[in-house]
Amino acid sequence: MKAVFTFSLMTLRMLFRRRTLWGILLIILLALAGIASVPSFDVSNQGRFILDFGLFGIEVGALLLALGLAATLYPRDRETRTLMPLIAVPLSRWQYLLGRFLGAALIQAAALLVTCLGLMLILLFHKLPIPGDLLPATLLIIVEGWFLLSTVFFFSFFTSPPLNWPLTTMLFIVSQMSVAEFVGLLPSAPGLMRAVRMILPHADVFHIKDPIAHGFAIEPVYFLVAIFYGLCYSAFMLSLALAVFRGRDLK
């Protein structure tokens, strides 16, 4: 595991030095500031509005970070031939995949925590209370971000980055849909649609922005189950990615 750890740190440092991270982070923070500057018609709802849209902004930020950080990692490694000396000697393919994933996941988590801090500062600026569940809610978005990251890795082994963006975004949108909404896409085959929806990820479990905005308490066990689900689905997507990667010839 030392090789994986070293390689993940190498990935983290590499991504930290790229402008992509800082660009996306700036966009998310500007979007949060923009949301906070929208005047609410009802002053008592200002906090709810900022929290609801702020957490939504962070969630979209998780998608942007996953795509921006990881969609080009493997294609770029292949194109620049950086991959060859790595895979030929010190790393096996699973170590490469896990190292790249862990590095990207750590930097994505750090960036999302910064955006959470940004949201807290906005709330303080508006003299609004910071809900106790804001940090756990961000933690769930981080886990969702890891799931998105693993999806980006999966697609990156057989598509180009321009195709990875719409594919991952589509899966992101579909994963937010309820069973009823999904069946509504093809009402003539409800059984099939229900079965497909069962297999597809349920990212809606990571969304607790509405209860938080409305001041409802979230049971700790819910967080644990949601995190466990997110980690299991990420591991599943990474296993699929590894299966594709193992079958690839590195010409």
Binding site: K2, A3, T6, F7, L9, M10, R13, M14, R17, R18, T80, R81, T82, M84, P85, I87, A88, V89, P90, L91, S92, D249, L250, K251
Partner: protein
Amino acid sequence: MADAHPLQVKDLSKQFARKRRLGSVQAISSISFDVRQGEIVGFIGHNGAGKTTTIKCVLGLLKPSEGGVSLWGSLPAAPVVRKRIGYIPENPDYDDSFNPMEYLNMFASMRGLSGLNSDWMKLLRRVGLAGWESTGIRQFSKGMRQRMSLAIALQSRPDLLIMDEPTGGLDPIARKEFREIILEENSRGASVLLSSHILSDVETICSRAIILSRGRLIAEGSMDDLLGQEHLFRITVISRKTGKEVEEIITEADLQTRIDSMRQDNLTIVKIERALKSLEDVFMAATGGSVK
């Protein structure tokens, strides 16, 4: 497995599927050879002859369609054998955001080596990168990236060095330095598989050569055998088109037939002399090329 050769390739074939219904391309066909302990083996062939494909199969980057590869009797994927290999890829490149020292430290950690910065400084000095240890790789020329690649390959004091066009694009001085380092590594006990287009380099340092053409192994042997196995003659004739002298290298077996055909074509033969064979002559004769 202690007595197994560092590298054994047996009946190796690789096909690449083409897109849509264009069938497949046979990159290499039933290639068998080995690299024995302490040898420097030259691996030569035209562009597209299958050298890089063979090397990538050896390193596990490509899956063979048929046949197999063993390194000290084990599969290429085995971690125990991968630790014993140093690899220089063709046109190496590294992430621009790092400097050589950072790269060497990271590779050392991934390989489980316990070297210090001072060890890597010595290594960088050895490959001609002294003073560049803290400079970002984005500022490196192609030759410097190749030196960087050599440093990474030598870092673990490998038992088998696999080099894919390591001196392509290097200036003569750098090529000489590369050759000297290869010889030093060999005298330390490392075996070397050297793929190169620069036949003079192969001829100078290799004890054996393997010639590939169109994915097939067409000649193999010790350098002495390859250079001395047949007599060659150089015929100089006047070209009817240009009026200038043109040379042609021909084997002793074909000599009389070629002279007769030249006479029939009314070509003026200026001289016929015994040619000292170079690896280039052997390569040209083996691959059906000619020296003009």
